[in-house]
């Protein structure tokens, strides 16, 4: 079923146009990679605060709230360029194990952030200024660090032809 969607997108004139824009691909991929790196950088700075490894004198809510708009902006740029890349070559990504691994890691990273937001973060008022957040927060920070590093790694190696199945 999923495969038929990919076929459908692949046959669209706009998808073909993106695929055939020879000079478009390098610049699009570069915009995607660089916005992703900036996004991940700001996420990691927040994770370091959660782990109690950096910005210890800044209340956690400040780090979180003030970096959030920038993280969202960069995620929007990265998602948009990523979506166009995908739209242009759906069948190329369909057969890539690394691409699907990256999608799964992103999903887990999102779930981790949501879970933290609705559990440990509820009590943030009690430990906002503490340089050593509770275990739940440290765990969320560590998971976020590992998962987003995984997203970066698998995103980068998606560009190689390993573990790619023709279809």
């Amino acid at each position: 079923m999923i495969r038929s969607w990919f076929d459908w997108v692949d046959a669209m004139p706009s998808s073909i146009a993106i695929r055939e824009a020879v000079y478009g691909y390098p610049y699009l991929l570069t915009a995607h990679a660089v916005s992703m790196a900036l996004f991940a950088g700001l996420i990691i700075m927040m994770d370091l605060r959660l782990l109690g490894w950096a910005f210890k004198r800044t209340p956690l809510t400040q780090v979180q709230k003030q970096l959030f708009p920038w993280q969202m902006f960069l995620m929007a740029v990265s998602s948009l360029t990523g979506a166009v890349l995908f739209y242009g070559q759906p069948l190329r990504y369909y057969g890539k194990v690394f691409f699907w691994t990256k999608m799964a890691l992103m999903l887990f990273a999102g779930l981790n952030a949501l879970y933290f937001h609705f559990t440990t973060y509820k009590t943030v008022a009690a430990w906002d200024t503490s340089d050593q957040p509770p275990t739940g927060a440290k765990l969320a920070g560590a998971l976020s660090l590992v998962l987003w590093a995984g997203v970066v790694i698998f995103g980068r190696i998606t560009a190689y032809n390993w573990m790619t199945f023709s279809n």
Partner: protein, 151 residues
């Protein structure tokens, strides 16, 4: 410069292993993420956004180990990449542009911007430095990615 790059080529470091080159590249990228994060928090603070309620000197001091660590990691892995694929670098316009801009960015970040470390609030002249720093490092990252794509 060409003889030097040809000599590097003759070392055959990582030759024959696409995996070696790829692991170096991925490590370079991970170091970049840490480095750029540390660059951004300070630049955003200079521009009066991000952690703006925190004294500037505090943000700078806290970001510093990650800035230096990320930079050191990028320097090592970046050098290894040149040693592994010297001809690719030598004949890439993006590589040379990146190296030239890198000199400017290093002076900006480690000399000009480090003045910020001593103050709680950014003096007026330092604010545009934040914007230039974000644009410059992003542009360097763009050139870096393009080395592998435009040949």
């Amino acid at each position: 410069m060409l003889p030097f790059f040809q000599w590097l080529e003759s070392l055959k470091f990582g030759a024959g292993s696409e995996y070696t080159v790829a692991s170096i590249n991925v490590t370079h990228l991970l170091c970049l993420v840490v480095f750029i994060g540390a660059v951004l928090v300070v630049d955003l603070r200079l521009l009066g956004t991000g952690m703006r309620r925190q004294p500037l000197s505090d943000v700078v001091r806290s970001a510093q180990p990650w800035l230096l660590g990320g930079f050191a990691g990028m320097f090592v892995t970046g050098s290894l990449q040149v040693v592994a694929t010297p001809m690719k670098a030598y004949f890439s316009d993006q590589f040379w542009l990146k190296m030239e801009l890198l000199i400017v960015a290093i002076i900006l970040t480690f000399f000009v911007r480090s003045f910020a470390a001593q103050r709680d609030e950014a003096p007026g002249w330092l604010k545009p430095v934040g914007l230039v720093s974000i644009l410059l490092w992003s542009f360097i990252a763009v050139q870096g990615r393009l080395i592998g794509l435009l040949q």
